[in-house]
Amino acid sequence: MNKLIQNEMMKLIAKKRLIVIAIIIGVLVMLFTYAQYKQVQTQREKLGTSDWRTILQQQIVDTTNRLSSSRITDEWKKQLQISLQQQQYYLDHDINPSEPGAPTFMRIFLENSIDLFIPLMVMVIASDLVSSEHSLGSIKLLLTRPVKRWKVLLSKYLTLCLAISLIIAIAGILSYLISGLVFGYKGWGAPILTGFNVTETGLNTSEVKLMGQWKFLLMDFGLVWFVSIVVGTLSFMLSVLIRSTAAGMGVMLASLISGAILTNMVSSWESAKYFFMVNLRLTDYMKGTAPPIEGMNLSFSIQTLFVWWAVALFVSFFVFTRRDVY
């Protein structure tokens, strides 16, 4: 088994995919860092201060004004109200919600890339793991060895999991190093509030906890990893089922993007919550924003994703061990 994984790992590294992914992430992080830097600057110019309390107070007043407008939809209104209460809570407890520094940037980057960007990077590796063996014809060589088929597939799957762990590590390290050049490398210990409960009536703050940013980040990484594993497994399944890599990738891409669109408009279609793609934003539960559909929470999303994961894994192994290869 160990040998098989080593072999798969060698193939993966020889393809240089990880390097391509690292370059993509690096370039994008640079863009985001610059955008963030610009935003901070314009805000500073506009308000004439860099005092975060003043800026937060101003944001609260601006949100209140937006709420008073009659032209906004009910769902948007609720979202705004929740973020308003949250901001007020931060202000009342004298905690800066976005302490400047590379760790904060990293956290924001993770929260925003969990549902599309990182899954896309994972897809780059996962979607041709099996199908490329078909298209290259090397599958026959692989299967003629005296190794059970499921072992071959398992080694591929474990390699995928390792590669995903690496991708997330690369994303974390690059975003920390690059953004730190601009924002500074401090801020691991900055306090973060978590445990906001979004209920029917609004925001429940009775279970709010204070934690260090490093701990919060580790949790975010764990959630991102879980999401990536699920997405990776699904595209792995597609790469087993569909021999054409492009087709498999297309299906996965379409469902990921539809997830991003659906989350903005499914609030009244309740059974949509069983789709895997609307459940990807796990970090939002930690932050305490309103879920896309009423009744969704962290355990629901994790369970749903877990079911999708288990089914995908089962299908992959079932199909791969039985299929005729010619």
Partner: protein, 257 residues
């Protein structure tokens, strides 16, 4: 490809895999089992950091916000522009105006810790309030003759007094400019009677202002008395940019350095 390179990459990947797994476990555990802690509320922040510029805080309703101004500035924005033209010091504005705000909610707002801190740092405070208390989106046209208006006014004056007390408590030095009411309905049938009510409110508001040091009542009634429609936005209630300019110029003429 070197075997050792691959082996070490695999090793690193396994380590990260475990680390992320720990993170995931922690996240789920903390989400459910973590006990809430008491987080201390912010104490009244007493120290005023040394600042170089001129700090202006604007409190109040849609007039402070600038509703109706096509340029989005409002009288506050126009005033700030004028001040920036006259002084070399950096000017910092905190606009805390909320559309549709009435005196009772401003009363709550000035009690907030952070708002208090902002007032404390201010060199100048601008206030507009009362318009929504009196006009209530036009409802005043129906019931201004009844006794209700007297009770509403009493409450309003009470709130106004409290707001001024709060501002003075936080900042005994800053100049406070309280912008009076104008009558947007002056051209309507009941305009004359309405004007009488507005004048009455303004008189009482000026009395309250006068009972505090350095709180200046700035009348705007006369500005909108003739040709009111030239200075009103299409909702016939808020000023347009010309109207805001009139108010801003009046306040600007009162500024002293």
């Amino acid at each position: 490809m070197n075997k050792n390179v691959i082996r070490s990459i695999t090793g690193i990947a396994v380590l990260f895999c475990l680390l992320w797994l720990i993170g995931l476990g922690w996240a789920v555990g903390e989400y459910y089992a973590g006990t809430p802690e008491k987080i201390p509320k912010a104490k009244t922040v007493s120290q005023v950091e040394n600042k170089k510029g001129l700090t202006i805080v604007a409190l109040g309703d849609s007039l402070t916000r600038g509703t109706g101004d096509e340029t989005g500035k409002g009288y506050v924005g126009v005033l700030i522009d004028e001040i920036k033209g006259k002084t070399k010091r950096p000017v910092q504005l905190t606009n805390l105006g909320i559309n549709g705000q009435r005196s009772n909610s401003l009363r709550k707002q000035v009690q907030e810790t952070e708002v208090g801190r902002q007032i404390q740092r201010a060199d100048m405070v601008l206030v507009t309030i009362g318009g929504n208390d009196l006009f209530r989106g036009g409802q005043a046209l129906m019931d201004f003759k009844t006794g209700d208006i007297a009770t509403i006014e009493k409450k309003y004056l009470n709130n106004l007094k409290f707001i001024f007390e709060q501002i003075r408590k936080n900042n005994p030095k800053a100049n406070v400019f309280f912008i009076g009411l104008y009558n947007p309905f002056i051209d309507l049938d009941q305009g004359r009677e309405m004007s009488k009510v507005v004048r009455h409110w303004n008189y009482d508001s000026a009395e309250v202002s006068a009972s505090f040091p350095k709180i200046v009542f700035v009348p705007t009634f006369d500005l909108f008395e003739l040709k009111v429609n030239d200075y009103l936005y299409s909702d016939k209630f808020h000023p347009n940019s010309k109207g805001y300019r009139l108010i801003a110029e009046r306040v600007a003429s009162l500024l002293t350095w």
